[in-house]
């Protein structure tokens, strides 16, 4: 019995066992590879997506428990039409290896939706579940501030 799943505004019928985590449905079934596998146990944040606007670790969410439309990094913006956050990321040259950055951006986007002008402490609190082995944290923090300013002015 296929499960109905809405991702980035498109509806899919997914014929997979209900316990398959959303991450693997996105990556291996729907070909949305922007969302990354890092740990499989919600310890690194690389798989962060939005459900009903909130940041969720897709590696720990079984397909059958997805209770709303899913938004992934692919819908945050594209190289030709980047969101304010993505523009700030590029301008600050945040990424090194870049593997964690989809998750970082999705986490930051959820933060800015709730807290449009976060302090350093609020950024630290919201972002510390997202691991970056390259240590890009100082630039992530700067980019979030820059995006917050741009969104306020824009």
């Amino acid at each position: 019995m296929p499960i109905t799943l809405t991702v980035n505004g498109r509806t899919h019928q997914v014929d997979l066992p209900g316990d398959v985590p959303l991450l693997w449905v996105l990556r291996d079934e729907l070909g949305l590879t922007g969302t990354k596998y890092g740990c499989g146990v919600a310890a690194c944040g690389a798989c962060t997506v939005h459900i009903n606007g909130a940041a969720v670790r897709s590696c720990q969410l079984p397909l059958e428990d997805v209770d709303g439309p899913v938004t992934t990094i692919e819908a945050e913006g594209t190289p030709d039409a980047m969101s304010a956050l993505q523009t700030a990321w590029v301008e600050h040259q945040v990424a090194q290896c870049g593997y964690c950055q989809s998750g970082q951006i999705m986490q930051a986007a959820a933060l800015l939706r709730q807290t449009p002008a976060p302090t350093d402490a609020q950024i630290d609190e919201a972002m510390s579940g997202n691991l970056c082995r390259c240590g890009t944290y100082p630039r992530i923090r700067s980019a979030i501030h820059a995006a917050a300013n741009a969104m306020k002015e824009g």
Partner: protein
Amino acid sequence: MGRLATYTRRTFLVSSVAITGGVAFGAWQVARTPENPLQSDGDSVAMNPWLIIDPTGITVIAPRAEMGQGVRTTLAALVAEELDADLAAVRIEHGLPAQAYYNGALLADRAYALSDTAQSGWSSTLSQAVPKVLSMQVTGGSTTTVDAFEKMRIAGAAARETLLKAAAARLGTGLDRLKTDMGSVVAPDGTRIPYTDLAQDAALIKPPSNPRLKARADWRYLGKSQPREDQPGKATGTAQYGIDVRLPDMLFATVRMSPRLGAGMKSFDAQAAQSMAGVQKIVDLGDGVGVIATNTWLAIQAANAISVEWNDAPYPADTDAIFEKIAQAFDDSPNTVQRDDGDAAQALQNAAQLFEAEYSAPYLAHSTMEPMNATALFTHDALEIWAGNQAPVMAQADAAAALGLKKKQVTVHTTLMGGGFGRRSNVDFVALAARMAQAMPGRAVQTTWSREEDMRHDHYRPGAIARFRAALDGDKITALEGRMAAPSIMSQMMGQMTGMSIAPPDATLTEGSHDQPYDIAHMRVAGHAADLSIPVGFWRSVGNSQNAFFHESFIDELAHSAGADPLSFRLNMIRAQHEPSATVLETVRDMSGWTGRTPAGVGRGVAFTYSFGTPCAQVVEVREQDGGIRISDMWIAADLGIALDPANARAQLTSGAVYGLSAALYGEITFADGMVEQENFYDYDALRMENTPRFHVKILENKSQISGVGEPGTPPAAPALANALFDLTGQRARKLPLSDTFNLAG
């Protein structure tokens, strides 16, 4: 004498690598220009191994892989600078495995010299010969820019000259009346002929071997921070890593190899797994099992459902016994003595007071964000591989050997890497993926390791022990003896390359100690190789990663014993040896406002390491906060000779420091029952945003030689932190990780 002896040993090491690599090479092999692996095809002209011009534009071939260094952009900038092309319009591709892409800097002597002059001609030729003849196409050792700095500028300049000549012939104009600008030749009347229109003609003209290169003052791109071409892709999730490769009809797989490393398996029972959802095939790999399924998670679930009886570990079963074995290596004669100046033994015997200390450092995992994976398509007489890797020639050879194919039957595409840190220079994961694909001919199979499999099957940074003795005269070290014991990375690597048991002199056992620019009259540093088969490998900064902690902690202890300021104590001994290193220390002193005194509740530590040709000094500040200790600030100064992209260099230094601090705080791989105990980020964690200090970075360019920056930020981080914690608490940690000793909750 000391220096000559060191030189002879290095030469021997280089020669022994060549001989044991099965190579007897004559002058012609060394002198011969490797053939261009690129072939011109219709409108697409391969100007040289690094440059293709076709009607749609200019493509630079990057011989090194992108794992976060921003090196694709910098390599393209080297060519674009001299070609006089628009960097923003240049396309960049990774080179296929080829001799032309050998890394000539891999074995270069980058020791500091009392006088800062270039390497002598023939020694530099010798160090180039081995990587060239062995086709060592490797991204590592902080060598990418060092190797490419001349080569890729020459590639651009030589192509530009042929393009100019082609334009001169077409226009019937003298060469001296033409110039170039942003990808075009410009005629006296202002007419622009794009390179894309001239490439066919230019390809028929013999390029000069020694074209004139621009003076630094004329650089448009180099020496200035450039927009990294990989940023938009990485900010939008469209950048493609190995794990993102998607091919028609692709299947997804995983493997379970023996958690007792190298032990193989007695038997397995896959009955339960066979009927699980999505499972296509269970693969008996002999030394492990694999599952091919319709998605990665289903493959991992099935693999975990297989019950396997593994063989016993071919090494002691737990951490204590492993470290006993490492300590036993002190009883054997040293594998290498890389520094033996004066008579340390005699000087120590005569010393009025002897200072002694023993330190240890644990095994460490690389834990790249992207777990090991590779995708392979086997079609009986050919194998095509897509993998993020640091050694494509080795990947090709190992995959070919695993399947009984010839190397030329194997194609390797190198993708972006979600972190390398040295892990992906061991290409075991590529050969395994090839074996999995062999079980499903005609279908592409992507084999991804679970995080747990990745954590427990690394080529680890070796566990190590150091024993020091020293004598002081006032605030100067008069004699120092260092002995380090650890399993030898070189020995394991040679064993893998040759199938023989060989223990070449391994400088990584003591690098970070024997090669530091301290003026100590009587100094001897010996490396002892422990006989342990736990896989070890190149972990960001290699031997420097543990030896800098040992060496710079001991120097700090001696400074305090002498009642001296730890920074001036170092400076006094370094100044006489290497002026650029002294300047680096002075710079970090001035940046941090170092006074040698700190208020209550604040501690500061300093450390210095000369590694990969780059002197780097760091000051760490720690503060008592909320009942714990917080790392508040870190100041970094480093001398790169030439910083090709300053923003990237700062990012690399910071990144190296975060990697070093993470390991210093939390990093520890332990063993029980022959198996690694850590599984995932919850028991092998790293710095997070909330406990990462503020960074203050300054890059100097006082040295005459360019040097790398990917690793030199790592070694001083652990000792700078340990020294700061001593300053704060009065407690000296001689063992890593530091969170075992201190409450670093902040």
